[in-house]
């Protein structure tokens, strides 16, 4: 049985195709402004990777910020539930998940493999992936570098501004005062880690703690968070896709529940219409994947 989970994030779109509990393909691309097109694009890429055709898919679950913009999805599930499911599958001992996305940040509690509680900040860019994107630009380095670089700091700079925009300026003036980039980066990570910690602690942090989402790819942030948590943390091998993975797993369960004839009917009515599917070359160019990776997790 082939199922797909597609996570249209504010910043990055992720897809996982699985056969029961075996991951066949996963694709990660920048979301961009056009959710529908992006959904089609990642689906096409993932299918190619998995060597499947659209008609092979039994069930598709969409999640994430843009989950309603996936015309071919059979169900929509929130990213909160999907991350929970994906992480629990990877490590059943996880009780607390800190998910740091592109435009929000969540704390999720798991109990007996079920969603127990959650909290989220989606009002202020502080403590979200956006913060780091902005700061990386200011520091003139790649986003991927900011974490490792900050880990080399011995003397993190004091960043007092909570506001992303002002912190950006503050970072600039620290640099101009001659503070090394690594120290500024480390200060930024600390500031954000406290902010995230302050929010997540409201749902009572319990071991094991997992960090997911794009923020988990940032080793500096994970380090600072760990410092605040004073607990070991679990970081999935590919933290970006836990939401899509969870969606795919849920899709599998749903497919099993619907059963053969039901699935056939579902497939027949699925909307693959791609009226605007890659019609012009300009869009095609804009749709080139910026960051594509895949992994198989047995």
């Amino acid at each position: 049985m082939f199922c797909a989970g597609i996570d249209i994030g504010s910043t990055i779109t992720k897809i996982v195709i699985a056969n029961r509990n075996e991951v066949l393909a996963s694709v990660v691309q920048r979301t961009g402004a056009q959710h529908r097109r992006r959904a089609h694009r990642v689906m096409e890429d993932a299918l190619t990777q998995a060597g499947l055709a659209t008609s092979d898919l039994d069930y598709i679950v969409a999640t994430g910020y843009g989950r309603i913009n996936v015309p071919f999805a059979d169900a929509q599930i929130t990213e909160i539930t999907c991350h929970m499911r994906g992480v629990s599958w990877l490590d059943p001992d996880v009780r607390t998940i800190i998910d740091i996305g592109g435009q929000d940040c969540k704390g999720i509690k798991v109990k007996d493999g079920r969603l127990d509680d959650f909290i989220m900040n989606d009002k202020c860019a502080a403590g979200t992936g956006r913060f780091f994107e902005i700061i990386a630009k200011v520091l003139g380095i790649d986003l991927e570098e900011i974490g490792p670089l900050s880990l080399t700091s011995k003397n993190p700079a004091e960043i007092s501004n909570l506001c992303t925009v002002f912190a950006e300026q503050e970072a600039l003036s620290r640099l101009s005062e001659g503070v090394p980039i690594a120290d500024v980066a480390a200060g930024i990570h600390r500031a954000n880690a406290s902010r995230i910690y302050g929010m997540v602690r409201k749902i009572k942090i319990e071991e094991t703690v997992a960090i997911t989402g794009g923020g988990a790819k940032n080793s500096g942030l994970c380090h600072s968070l760990q410092e605040r948590l004073q607990l070991p943390v679990f970081i999935p091998p590919e933290p970006l896709i836990t939401g899509a993975l969870g969606a795919a797993l849920i899709a599998g369960e749903k497919a099993a529940r619907v059963g053969g004839p039901g699935l056939a009917a579902l497939k027949k009515h699925r909307r693959w219409d791609a009226a605007t599917f890659f019609s012009d070359s300009a869009t095609q160019a804009a749709m080139q994947p910026t960051n594509s990776q895949h992994s198989h997790m047995g």
Binding site: I159, S160, S194, G198, R201
Partner: protein, 452 residues
Amino acid sequence: MTKNKIKTKKSNKTLETAREAGYFGKKMLESAIRAQDEGKPIGWSMANWWEGDIIAKAMGVNLVYPENWGAFCASIRRAEPFLEISDGEGFPNTLCGYARNNIGFAKTLKENDFVIPADAPGGGLAKPIMMLASGAACDARYKWFQSLGRYLDGVPVWMLELPQTGAREFFLPENKANNLKFIVKELKLLIRFLEDLLKCKMDDAKLEAMVDQAFKTLGLAHEVDLLRRNVPSPMVSQDFWSIMIPHFYLPDDPEAYEFYQRVYAEVKHKVDNGIGAIPNEKYRMMFGELPPWHSIGFFDDIAERYGIAMVMESWNYHAPTPLPEEEIDGVTDPLERIARLCYHKYTEYNPAALKYAVAPSYFSAPFLEYAEIYRTDGFMAHPLMSCRPATYTLMQTLQRLEEKRLVPGVVVNGDIIDLRVFNLEEAYSKVEAFTETMDHYRELRRKAGMAW
């Protein structure tokens, strides 16, 4: 990250006697811990404005005050971990900082099998056998103790009620009599509760003696306030926040009375010799409600930089004016006397409240009176992010002071405990500009022919 941003600023007290006041805070905490060792009853109490705590003490309960302890934890920057625990328990982080601090501590205590952790600030609070909540002035003061049931399972909470009449309603015939009757009945119920709990009888003579003592101490504390009307001010807020502890929490303690005798003598000496608390008094200001306990030194800095003497603070923490003769004449029942004093405190500013249209009378109206009596140039409002009752009426106070008394106000945001919003640099820059505002209003008051 804000954690290290503001450094603790302890204040330089200007009075010699104010330096002694720390003794009383210690005394309260220590006596509760000693009581625990000796197996004597311990109670946690809200600062009750002399309603019920004296009664509990007269019954032999050793009281500690989590509000006071909260201020203490904040002043040594030890509240944060408790706040975090409270947040983790699911209490909103908008609740009163004292409450969150205390809730965090109660949880710690429970998890430690009610043995106070060795490193608890100030020795910590011993486990109580009862809690005395208050219906006066603030909802937190009963909701908070009620919510402690999660940690202090089976410790009964008694809520002592105090009527809160509106300024207009105060003057309706019968109302005052009804109110007083109600308070006395409530106090009687409290005694019954205590007698049942402690399985002993109230010693009326002892209660009477303690109430007498409290009246004396409060009267004297009020005399000190009166001296502060002088120019230059012989004593400022930096001192007051220390010396208030004995009269606020221990008015029945003879040591507190003796202490105020010394305070009085020192302040009087300054008045007689024209010595100001700060050397260069240029501006006289009032301070609105609870202070930033974590940064009391702020007052020293603005005194030094701008010559600001903080000459008076919120009504809340001050002793009431003594009861008028006709109120006390022939009243010997200590419960009746307590009732009258409490009610008096809550209602004495009602005429002013009507005059300036600032009901409720508590919180706002006193400042409108102080403005003239203490000859003040400005009002510093300190809206707190976690204490609503002390913040609700500040805007009204600012408005009315400016409009009716030509006394301008400056707003410095902060909190009693939480460090998230207080910003020293910003506060200084606001206050600096505000000195000009005070100059301007001085001129306006002069033109309007006002007395100061």
